[in-house]
Amino acid sequence: MNFHSPYLIESTYLIATALFILSLKFMSSPTTARHGVWAGEVGMLLAIVGTLLNAGIVDYRWVAIALVLGSIIGVPLGMVHMTAVPQRTALSHCFGALCVTLVGASEFYLQSPNVPKFTMSVLAMEVILGSLTFTGSLMAAGKLQEWLPQRPITFKGQNFVNLGLLAGTVGVAIFLVIHPERADLFPIILGVPFMLGIMMIIPIGGADMPTIISLLNSYAGLSAAAMGFVLNSKLLIIAGALDGASGFILSVNMSKAMNRSFTNVVFGAFGQEQAKAVGGVEERPVKSATPEEAAAILGAASKVIIVPGYGMAVAQAQHKVRELYDTLTKRGVDVKFGIHPVAGRMPGHMNVLLAEADIPYDKLMDIDDANSDFPQTDVVLIIGANDVTNPAARTDKSSPIYGMPILDVDKARTVMVIKRGMSPGFAGIDNPLYYLDKTLMLFGDAKAFVGSIVRELTGGGGHG
């Protein structure tokens, strides 16, 4: 049997493709999801072994060294703490884009000056998307890791500059398709998107990260699909299309959950107009409560919904929240969690943090289920979430977040909000929820405050 047979190699790719699609299918339920990882792993292994059989490979030394080195780098990237998952994800988009861009660039120099028109056009798409995703994801990872300022940085004419850069790059790419012999122009379609990736992320604030990460996910997938077109590899085209579709669905979900269009997220750094809305707010009285009072109210409730936000992740409060969940459940209180799609820094972020704290996933409700439960709920406890609970989104047409789907926490009998102080959320919008009669503000650090409530409930003797 000939191990270098293209038929043998292609059949490994065919099986790998089927396994990849199955892998995503298994992900539809938490009970089968781990099979998805196994299917993906087997598919990947088959495809890599199949590729190594390729008759064109004359030198295995560098391939072997690179495979080992990549695996060594991959292990710590797979073992990061759960709170670091958003920046890890951004970093992996960055690596994926790097791979695609480098292969694209060397393919160009191998085929230059006789690059067929079709190859040149997909190649241009591959390196433009790849290069842009590379720096964009690197910047996003830097912001999430807080190496870079998380605040949106804006300047006049930003969108004009970005669009100009993009148009220029596309222009050069079209010129290269017609004149592929002008290899001297190739660095432009590598370098300008490289800059553009940085420029694109500079104006993005922390709360827009879920949308941007999904968008970069989609770009990474599309650039890999373009690479598939260049190399005429169906496996790559399919894997890239699946990844691109996934990123696209997630980014549409995220922008819907913020009631903003794609273009608005990418081109309209939130800050500016909204800053004015804060100006006119007068000091209004709020009711606050101590841990003792909060514990008494929670202990007397029969149905409680906890609404976590990014603040819970920042305060690392999820394990204390788990203790609260245990304590209340033991007393016969029905405790569930209401999770807004954009809570946290990436899609599904809160679910992973709560699952890590051993909270059963059937207690985690999405926005629709939570909203149908709030009217029958005694107490809602909000931990580190703000804008996603703002009733102004429902009622106040002048509010910048008007129309955004929110968790209707104000429908519950009592609302408790754990918050450091009265500062508004990322959008700088005042939250009328805090001034309602049924609302109690619990001022303090989320982790410490939840800890005090737990101590009160278990009668452990601690006082605040």
Binding site: M27, N54, C99, F118, A355, D358
Partner: protein, 98 residues
Amino acid sequence: MKFDLITDLYVFMLAAFIGFAVIRRITPLLHTPLMSLTNALDAIAVVGAIIMAGEHKTTLSTVLGTIAIVAATSNVVGGFLITDRMLKMFKSSRPQKP
């Protein structure tokens, strides 16, 4: 190298439809592991990089291909590893088989 553009476009279109149909059904509960899984699958680009580095046509293509393999392999290993770690944590409160 023969380019079968039309076939490739059909493949892309069908894969995109399958992607939309399958991924739309995935619960928001698992969106984070979904993203890390698709990341790992997307690193299949490593096959292109292996050929690029292994064919050893020019020094440039070998060097760039080798770096590309490192980047993609770290996504394969890291991506599958963290996805599995995350999914292991999702437990139901309903009684389970041991």
